[in-house]
Amino acid sequence: MQALKKVEIILSAPELPKLQRLVEKLGLNYTVFHHATGRGDRGIRADDDLTGVFTNICLLTACKAEQLPALVEVVRPLLKKTGGLCLVSDVLSVIH
């Protein structure tokens, strides 16, 4: 098993294409969970699903510790602009 950093990024759905582009530029693999709802400092985000404007997504990426700073660098402006959350924790990844 390999020690990695697990990064979970919660953002509003319309930001996803931008986030994906940024993460791919860093050469990272990722998984995205869609249609999340939530409550934050900017109010409630319910999945009314007409505009998709109020839905959240959660992008999960497991990366090497040395890739983390660059990732945080690109995520922070997105969080600043439209809100959200970015959590980092330690994981072991099963090598296959």
Partner: protein, 333 residues
């Protein structure tokens, strides 16, 4: 506005289902249309109204009168967001003012469709090319809104700060959001498909799908709109008195502008009402989706709430018969 017209509007199934939706939320019923049904219904309505309009355009052809109408429609779609922006700047920062201005400068296809159903019920004829006018009025306000927001940001930016100049304006992206967003693209595309096939036998096979289901789908969609609109009523407190009044008064002003335009163009009674409703209505799908990306600093719970929880119900319930009466008064019966 005579009482009969108000009643005809209120006692049509789509409007009653809208009221039922409002009621469901207000009495805290857990009734809801599961996602993505509302989006599917809205795509259907755009496809069907576009296709029907296109077929009628194929029959009527493009006349000078139609070209003029389309021109005036586009002018209205540019003028309205500009003037509302300056009204909104009295109380709001430029980002929110621009996003709301764009919302009110654009149109609501479902309000248009409900007005057309009202005309059907009162047996007043109208023309297919009004759908083309609607399609042309959807996008300009988005561009205007973004331009106004950018100009303001530029003016206020002081050298050395990273706010305005950090991200250069990506006009290709903004144009795409304006003219190629899903709603606009499907409406225009279906219009063109209808126009290309309207005079061919193949188009007939689509009629049960686009025409016969139409009122039923509209009723179901309005049920959902009622539910969603009532849910947003709570957010009105945040909007405050100014924006609450704005959401009722500006549609009335825009309706008056639209009435003037319709009168200058010499539109028929039915087309006149549709033109007025296009001016008076505000977007709650295409523009918010575009604004979220183009002006992320603006608060969506302002522009979505105003458009969805106030202007839309107002236009649907009171606006349509009211504007209908005004058109009748100006144009003669």
């Amino acid at each position: 506005m005579n009482f009969d017209q108000l009643l005809t509007n209120f006692l049509s199934p789509p409007i009653l289902f809208f009221l039922l939706g409002l009621l469901a939320t207000l009495v805290k019923s857990d009734l809801e249309l599961p996602a993505p049904l509302p989006k599917i219904l809205s795509l259907y309505l755009l496809l069907a109204i576009g296709f029907k309009g296109g077929v009628e355009l194929a029959h009527s052809g493009l006349t000078l009168q139609i070209a003029l109408t389309l021109g005036v429609a586009m002018i209205a779609a540019v003028v309205v967001p500009v003037y509302t922006y300056f009204v909104l700047r009295l109380k709001l920062d430029s980002a929110n003012a621009a996003a709301i201005a764009a919302t009110y400068g654009s149109i609501s296809a479902v309000t248009f469709i409900t007005a057309a159903a009202f005309l059907d019920a009162t047996k007043v004829p109208y023309s297919g090319h009004m759908v083309a006018a609607m399609a042309l009025m959807e996008s300009p306000a988005i561009v205007v809104g973004v331009v106004l927001a950018r100009l303001a940001a530029k003016r206020s930016a002081t050298p050395g700060t990273d706010s305005a100049d950090a991200e250069p304006v990506d006009w290709g992206h903004i144009g795409r959001d304006a003219f190629l967003n899903g709603s606009v693209f499907l409406l225009v595309g279906s219009l063109i498909v209808g126009a290309l096939t309207g005079n061919r036998p193949g188009a007939v096979a689509l009629v049960p799908f686009t025409n016969e289901l139409f009122t039923g789908v509209l009723a179901l969609f309005l049920l959902d709109m009622g539910i969603i609109a009532a849910r947003r009523l709570g957010d009105l407190r945040r909007a405050g008195v100014f924006l609450t009044c704005f959401a009722i008064i500006v549609p009335l002003l825009n309706a008056a502008l639209g009435l003037l335009g319709a009168w200058l163009l010499g539109l028929s009674h039915g087309d006149g009402l549709l033109f007025v409703i296009l001016c008076a209505s505000a977007s709650y799908i295409a523009v918010p989706a575009a604004m979220r990306l183009a002006i992320p600093e603006a608060n969506p719970s302002l522009y979505v709430t105003m458009s969805l929880a106030l202007t839309f119900p107002f236009n649907i319930l009171i606006g349509i018969p009211l504007y209908g009466a005004a058109v009748a008064a100006v144009f003669g019966p």
